[in-house]
Symmetry: C2
Amino acid sequence: MAQTSLRVEREHSVDRVVRRLAESARLDDVGDVPEWLAERRRAGTCEVRRIPFTRLHRWSFEPDSGNLVHDTGKFFSVEGLRVRREGAPDWVQPIINQPETGILGILAKEFDGVLHFLMQAKMEPGNIGLFQLGPTVQATRSNYTKVHQGRGTRYIEYFTGPRRGRVLTDALQSEQGDSFLGKRNRNMVVETMHDVEEHPDYRWLTLGQIHRLLAMDNLVNMDARTVLSSLPLPGGAGPVPAATQPDAASLSWLTELKTRHERTVTRMPLSRVDGWRRCDDEIVHTTGRHLSVLAVSVVAGNREVTHWTQPLLAAPQGLAALVVRRAADGVQVLVQGLAQPGTFDTVELAPTVQCVTEGYTDLDDPPPFLQHVLSAPPERILYSALQSEEGGRFHQRDNLYLIVEADDAFPRDEDLSHSHRWLTLGHLKQFISFGGHVNVEARTLVACLQSLSPEQGWTWTA
Amino acid sequence: MAQTSLRVEREHSVDRVVRRLAESARLDDVGDVPEWLAERRRAGTCEVRRIPFTRLHRWSFEPDSGNLVHDTGKFFSVEGLRVRREGAPDWVQPIINQPETGILGILAKEFDGVLHFLMQAKMEPGNIGLFQLGPTVQATRSNYTKVHQGRGTRYIEYFTGPRRGRVLTDALQSEQGDSFLGKRNRNMVVETMHDVEEHPDYRWLTLGQIHRLLAMDNLVNMDARTVLSSLPLPGGAGPVPAATQPDAASLSWLTELKTRHERTVTRMPLSRVDGWRRCDDEIVHTTGRHLSVLAVSVVAGNREVTHWTQPLLAAPQGLAALVVRRAADGVQVLVQGLAQPGTFDTVELAPTVQCVTEGYTDLDDPPPFLQHVLSAPPERILYSALQSEEGGRFHQRDNLYLIVEADDAFPRDEDLSHSHRWLTLGHLKQFISFGGHVNVEARTLVACLQSLSPEQGWTWTA
């Protein structure tokens, strides 16, 4: 009988991965990467124009439901969603239904003893700047099974079937719960030992280079950020916290919130979603706030097919802010349990503050800690940048991402409302490793928090 | 700023809980507990009779859908389910839809320095023997919010609202994926420091006493077993494995299986479920195999209301077997990833073998390891008992639960199919602690595995 010691093996390999990631993070000279990305932008023919819905090709509104669907029944559809909760009025809204799991994968490989990551100059029609730095593979199932009828997905073979390398991380992670119905993608990092074919749209970068690019506005795309958040790395040069599991009280707190936010979510005809009206070129909320649906025509030179039309969602600009503090055992982060209409499992861990800000300056009832993070003095702001959401589904949607260190005036633990809780960063990362517990905005902030280095005046202990 | 060391606090308290549980497990004289349960059976007036559907009170078949529903729209309904997978024929079947989360809670308290657990002599109409040992609280949301119009749920106040005690475990766990559509219950253990009112249907038992009762057929109900499986205890007297997290490869294996088994699950009218036909007193599969739906009339003296009628599901007897082995770092268990029609998240970790056996002796394609566990010599069988599934929804449904130690003839690790994988018991328990990863049959087997003691010739290391 095999007597393999699974635990010892695991600990050995996790430690080694963490050490190699930390080494890669220390090499952070971005060199000519921004120029390469700019050059790729120039090289790629790309034009995105808004069009009326009638000019969508192979997309149409179903006669009965008014749902916006592709004629293959594939890709995704824009439908209506009804959320019913006891003691509250029903909430209805448009939602993207995309019941297939895509792959967001970063390929890793050692060069001269240092881990590098194969990143892509990726065009997405809704991206601010059109091209951003994406993971090696960013493919819906329709993409990589070729429903597009275009060319296959480059490098997909490292992530599916009998793999050529070693899986470092691999979990199903959610996307925006305000816009997607239970959508998840498989987030993977795979290390290969083999030679990898080169391509001008792709470059091998160190983790340190990626971290520096993450400090800039709208440069590292959402798909790359969520995969980066899964790496077993606490930060650019900080100590690695011991692998810990969340305590019973934290798990119970999350369970309690899921039970408290129990609701029934059902799909409904888009044409019957009250509060939104359909015009020639958009479906828009009567207040002008909330999500809207629009259509674009895309002509591109370096994507799977060269011309297509598709619907996109637009959304007001928002804020996602994480309050952190340093304690004897490392960094702690203040998360909230947030129930969004499309969340796969009712409630996920979310940033301290997550809200729409555009047009909401007159909020009667601002979310907790909004003023705290917006009025933080510069020395308390550890990270601040605008980052885009998925440009394949959203039209120029971005959020301000902030990491703010708590000051002495911050509410004491016992004064926090039940919706918020301090976790160690190690605990939050373990929730991420299981998949399905941490929302995409919080995962972006974890990737940003990991990117901080001592040179930015940030140390990882109190 | 608070500098609380969350990690140190946690580790201290987990260790202390584990030690106290181990102490409670050593006291295993069942004393007069079986007699008390028998006495409760005699004291409770209870009669359960099958009735035709027309004699159901407040339950009826909806005219259009043929769904079997309660006239309040509460409790649960029996509907149809369609599972669609690429490249496979659709699968349809009846399913219970119960979109509310109940509470299964065990109250714990120290007496003379030893942890005891408040267990209930619980009548459920479908139980074999009618009365079994249940958790302190076993209540649907309808129960404890009094849709029954009966009396409130006893001891519920220890599990909801501002609690009187300390939560030891608390997670949402699934129920039978072949019969329920995404149903989950909150599994909780709460320790109180306060005096607790006594009641003749409840007794404080040590963990050791519960473990001895678990060795008997059909005595500890499913609701109690699933809660017990969440306790941070590896076994009656074994060493406690360090808190470990599953390795990247195990998490990736589960993610891969979820992706591979991707499917679309939709509710459909019960009347259109092919293969089943509705008679006066049952809805039955044309082969006589699979689930059937029937109705019962219940007269009972010690439940929330004294007379009611309700539907129940019946199912052929099955087998759930876990193959285990001892390695240098503790016990390892062979699990499979199993996709059942109603599973909340596509695939859950399941026993090595889980199948229906009644009427299936002529299986052309038996599941892997079936012969291995059925033909194991007595000295390799660590646990064997018949245990009932939930008597509030199932009519006399039970399964044979087996724990079998692998012998030298067992397939080598590299010869296992991709659907099976060895995990350490510590890893499996951590999957349980997060909720939603381990199916109810596997959780029963974990509770049974934890109940084994050295007196039964079982030690926890190789």
